[in-house]
Amino acid sequence: MTIPADLKYTASHEWVRREADGSMTVGITDAAQQMLGDLVYVEPPAAGRQLAVGEECAVVESVKSASDVYAPLAGKVTAANVELSGAPQLINQDAYGAWIFRIMPDNPADFDTLLDAAGYQAVVDAEGH
């Protein structure tokens, strides 16, 4: 299980990367994909949708179960990864490459309130994965 040091995280197992244009790319972590098992369906949020922090905005389904993905910060969805609709297993193969959606944050400083790699590692350890 990997937790790259250059990303930010949430306690609900999303990862966030800040792009050069100020948008934020969001996916689920390697720990999350391991817990879920083989993914068979991903439903990202529609572009243009306004999200509140913590809002359920995407669904990832494995053979076993469906799980919600939560907005790591408030903002407007700018893009969804269309590649995932035909190949949800890309998340199992590379959780940090297979992003789910991008969001333009209402307040760019919210990024700094997210967990760093050490903080997320502590969450994973506490959950016993």
Binding site: G37, D38, E61, V63, K64, A66, Q89
Partner: protein, 362 residues
């Protein structure tokens, strides 16, 4: 404390993710559930099913006893070794369990029941025995382990791993078993593929598992076991039917003998309560995954999914659903998933047999 099979440590050594399954600590998968599913459809895989309970029924009254105990007709078994799938019914017609019974000789039948229902089933059998056939011997066999080897190459790989077994098992027809004391080979399974279910003394289980692994049979967890049986249209007790369900509303009418004059436990209740609902197959017509307990809207009223998942062979979601009687194959239904209604087509299952799609839309 969860119960463990004789193969527990072997599963851990092979990297299994273990889960609580009806009080047993069992392998869910060994890496990828979907890969394991394909392995069984395309080659051969092995399952530890030692949590299931073997029960031997011995004595001169065995057939008479099973004639009244089981909803299917034990008199269909005339060839030694042949097996029969049957429901075990309550007096009220509800399903106590589903099982396989093997006819080994007139004074020895072997039954295999589900793990989670084993204690209840055995208590029920003993109670019926005490009033109907007190001399009959009913012996649970927790001393036996069971390994299922399934897939188009399963039998050949078993013979490769156990060269001594070929001569006596290659003539077995489907649904027939051969006893090689203290081992037992049955050409049965729960995947829709050919193969064997092998019962053997618990201390021998790990050696057989490793010999099969050496013959390139891959371990398969309960996750793939569920998608394989769902594709094959086989019922799962506790999900597709239970004590509150009539077998006639669970797609199991073909296993209930209402034609012959024979009486059996639950028969009167079934005759008094004709079915109002039926079990059908569903194919989801878009992305998403059907799951147990989702509501199915039909032209004749609402129904419910009893088993739903993703079918790795068909690469789309499939389900078994209990819907009002009268809904025809080919009809379109709407399944409620997270507040949205998605279209699903009613199909005749099984969905997949022997590696190939086989459902019918007409």
């Amino acid at each position: 404390m969860l119960k463990r099979t004789p193969l527990y440590q072997t599963h851990r050594d092979m990297g299994a993710k273990m889960v609580d399954f009806g009080g047993w600590e069992m392998p869910l998968h060994y890496g990828s559930q979907i890969e394991e599913h394909h392995q069984v459809r395309r080659d051969a895989g092995m399952f530890d099913v030692s949590h299931m309970r073997v029960v031997d029924v011995e004595g001169a009254e065995a057939r008479d006893f099973l004639r009244i105990l089981l909803a299917n007709n034990i008199d269909k078994l005339t060839l030694p070794g042949k097996a029969l799938y049957s429901c075990l019914l309550h007096e009220d017609g509800g399903v106590l369990d589903d099982l396989i019974v093997y006819f080994l000789s007139e004074d020895w039948f072997r039954i295999v029941i589900n793990a989670a229902t084993a204690e209840k089933d055995i208590a029920w059998m003993l109670k019926q025995r005490d009033t109907r056939a007190p001399a009959l011997k009913i012996t649970p066999r927790p001393d036996l382990a069971m390994i299922a080897v399934q897939g188009p190459n399963a039998r050949a790989k078993v013979w490769q791993a156990l060269p001594g077994s070929q001569t006596s098992t290659q003539a077995l027809v489907l649904f027939q078993a051969h006893v090689m004391p203290p081992w037992f080979f049955a050409r049965t399974g729960y995947t829709g593929e050919d193969g064997f279910e092998i019962m053997l003394p618990a201390p021998d289980a790990a050696a057989l598992w490793l010999a099969l692994a050496a013959a390139d049979v891959k371990p398969v967890g309960l996750g793939a076991r569920d998608t394989l049986r769902l594709e094959a249209g086989m019922s799962l007790y506790g999900q597709d039917m239970d004590e509150a369900t009539s077998p006639l509303e669970a797609g199991l009418a073909w296993t209930v003998d209402l034609q012959s004059p024979r009486d059996f436990i639950g028969k009167a209740a079934l005759l008094a309560n004709p079915p109002q609902r039926q079990l059908v197959g569903l194919l989801l017509e878009q992305g998403g995954v059907l799951r147990a307990h989702q509501v199915v809207h039909t032209a004749l009223g609402d129904g419910e999914i009893t088993s739903g998942s993703f079918s790795p062979t068909l690469n789309r979601s499939i389900a078994l659903a209990r819907v009002p009687l009268g809904i025809q194959t080919g009809a379109t239904t709407e399944v409620e998933i997270r507040g949205k209604r998605l279209q699903a087509k009613v199909v005749k299952y099984p969905f997949v047999r022997h590696g190939k799609p086989c459902y019918s839309e007409i």
